[in-house]
């Protein structure tokens, strides 16, 4: 069991069966001290949220590889808000849209949907682990300090 300070829910959203990247992400993050609750492939928005609620995870890592990410991820942040997880970190990565598109446009689209960070397939997972720890630590700080008013959503 990894350092309980960092707990994330991981899964591949929608009707997506791409399982390899999912196994790789888990195998890289865990030794780096991140506790990964892995839901595997074909996970619905509510299944992600259920798992986060149950396990108290600080972040949800959504993969979408097969191209329907644009459809499957729509409304995810809203659903989190409805289910009382307004502030949970949302990462998304993979081949998020249909076809080869400029990443900057894809990133903007998913940020608009309320994802905190958006990743290409070629992202370095060690760097993701660092970001994750930093983002989670920052949130914890913010939440422990009621007085400060801070923008929770990460800018860059």
């Amino acid at each position: 069991m990894a350092d309980a300070r960092f707990k994330v829910v991981l899964g591949v959203i929608g009707a997506d069966c791409h399982a390899v990247g999912n196994k790789i992400i888990k195998s890289v993050l865990e030794p780096l001290g991140i506790d990964v609750v892995n839901l595997g492939v074909m996970v619905s928005q509510d299944e992600f949220i259920d798992a986060a609620v149950e396990t108290g995870a600080q972040a949800i890592l959504v993969s979408s590889i097969y191209g329907h990410g644009e459809i499957d991820c729509a409304g995810f942040r809203g659903r989190c808000v409805e289910r009382g997880l307004a502030d949970i970190l949302l990462y998304v990565g993979g081949n998020l849209v249909i076809g080869k598109r400029e990443f900057s446009a894809v990133e903007a689209m998913f940020k608009d949907m309320g994802f905190d960070r958006v990743f290409k397939p070629t992202v370095d997972l060690e760097e993701v682990a660092e970001l994750l720890k930093a983002d989670i630590s920052r949130k914890v700080l913010v939440c422990n300090d009621d007085h400060e008013v801070v923008e929770l959503r990460i800018a860059g």
């Binding site: 069966c17 399982a19 390899v20 990247g21 196994k23 329907h68 397939p121």
Partner: protein, 487 residues
């Protein structure tokens, strides 16, 4: 149909009554089912010119030792799909229609939303063509507006309605199988169920054959496309071939996905053909046409297009040296997303150039290839013997029990019915070997051979073989290597 268990499933031809009765239900699972008219479908096929028949294209290729090229292609809307296929048509021999992932899971409502959103967006937001939603009329329009044989390519555990609709519309080949379209493609579908559903599909093809219409069937060879040892996918292909023939299928194409090591790939595709004949005859079939299909690299691709071309080229060379009847072609966009027509065409052109250049050359014969062939054959026999044994002679029942027992086990598969204990890794020449056999019943000397080959690599890299090595191998091709060696 009630849920079959491993005790009830059997490799026996569905009787007419069972099939017809089931059909009534199947056709009601989505509103487009009501338009399926078998007799009209048969007439369509009879009226179709030979140039649009898959079975004819394959037979001609077999006879002339030609290798057919086939792209993947599927977009949400009919008109766009027609346009796409006609743009690709001059550059390939047979056409696909790749089905979207919602349809693959019978989520026709989501597919419909995808169609509607695509229409609104003016671009396909689906990763394939949704044939069930478009129905017989839409599929007929597609078939009528292309000039080459056309196949349904998908990944659907329960493809019964899709098969009824597409075959009645004039598609003359149907990919998939009860194992190969379950284990790599789904999470919670019981294997007995998907096998049973595919017996239905095969029986439907058999019904066409009874009416003199030959429909090609193609079990999906590459499975998860990731470090799958040849014997693993061969066993699946052979079982699905046998299941299909039992239901009256006559034209069958066995598939294999490139492993990356040239000798292993050439050996694999050559042995697949031999093993096909061996098992089909052993099970009493003699009236069938066998062909093979080679899938260019099915794992993660390099992002840089120039690099992708070399992966494509190596696959083309292996396929041609191996004597495959057909190649499923990748594109330089593979790592990024569903390819544009242009990227798809580029993949076809690169492949054609390579197979032409290799096709003009001599037969590739090396000791290594001969040894790999002998190895694959022994491994396949070991697994098949056990499967037959577990099924007490019944290959359907045997397959279900084999997966339960981990006797058959597909690396990296998402299906919960898959044991996931077989762990493959590359040896020092890049051939895929068995690192952890899980419960696969390979002979002791074969296992010793695998261990020795892996030890050779471990020594060369100065590290122990481990799951880290496997992960490195998974990422290797994208990082421009075949083997995931430490830097």
């Amino acid at each position: 149909m009630t849920e079959p268990s491993s005790h009830e499933i059997e490799n026996r031809k569905l009787d007419r009554g069972t099939y017809e009765h089931e059909r009534d239900t199947v056709l009601q699972t989505w509103h487009t089912g009501k338009d399926v008219d078998f007799a009209k479908g048969v007439r369509r096929h009879h009226e179709m010119p030979d140039s649009k028949k898959f079975s004819v294209a394959l037979a001609n290729a077999e006879a002339a030792h030609k290798t057919l090229l086939q792209p993947r292609a599927g977009v949400a809307l009919i008109r766009e799909q027609i346009q796409l296929l006609n743009d690709l048509s001059p550059h390939c021999d047979v056409l696909p229609t790749t089905v979207d992932a919602y349809t693959r899971h019978n989520r026709y409502e989501e597919a419909q939303a995808g169609i509607d959103r695509s229409r609104a967006a003016g671009t396909s937001l689906l990763n394939g063509f949704p044939p069930v939603n478009h129905g017989v009329e839409g599929c007929e329009r597609l078939v009528d507006n292309v000039s080459k044989p056309i196949q349904v390519r998908h990944g659907t555990p329960d493809a019964r309605l899709m098969a009824e609709i597409t075959l009645a519309s004039g598609f003359s080949s149907f990919e998939g199988g009860g194992i190969s379209y379950n284990i790599p493609y789904s999470k919670n579908v019981p294997l007995a169920r998907s096998i049973r559903h595919w017996q239905y599909c095969d029986r439907l093809v058999g019904r066409y054959e009874e009416e003199g219409v030959s429909i090609n069937r193609e079990p999906f060879g590459p499975l998860t496309g990731t470090l799958v040892p040849p014997f693993v996918s061969h066993a699946v292909a052979l079982i699905e071939g046998l299941l299909a023939l039992e239901q009256g299928v006559k034209c069958i194409t066995l598939g294999y996905g490139q492993a990356g090591n040239l000798s292993q790939d050439v050996a694999a595709i050559r042995s697949l053909r031999q093993l096909g004949h061996h098992y089909f005859r052993e099970f009493g079939h003699d009236d069938y046409a066998l062909s093979t299909v080679f899938h260019q690299w099915m794992g993660g691709f390099p992002e840089i297009e120039a690099r992708a071309y070399s992966v494509i080229a190596l696959g083309a060379a292996a396929a041609k040296f191996g004597g495959a009847t057909k190649i499923i072609v990748k594109t330089p966009h593979e790592a990024s997303g569903v390819p544009t027509m242009e990227a798809n065409r580029a993949g076809l052109q690169a492949t054609e150039q390579m197979i032409n250049m290799i096709g003009d050359q001599g037969y590739l014969e090396t000791d290594e290839i001969a040894q790999e062939m002998a190895l694959i054959e022994r491994e396949v026999h070991a697994v098949m013997d056990k499967v037959i044994d577990l099924g007490q002679g019944d290959i359907a029942r045997g397959a279900v029990r084999a997966f339960e027992a981990g006797v058959m086990d597909i690396p990296f598969a998402p299906a919960s019915v898959n044991a996931g204990r077989l762990t493959p890794v590359r040896d020092n020449n890049g051939a895929i070997r068995v690192f952890d056999q899980g419960s696969i019943p390979l002979p002791a000397d074969v296992i010793a051979f695998h261990k020795e080959k892996i030890a050779e690599r471990a020594a060369a890299e100065g590290r122990d073989a481990s799951f880290k090595m496997v992960v490195d191998d998974v990422r290797a091709i994208s990082a421009s290597k075949l083997i995931g060696r430490p830097n």
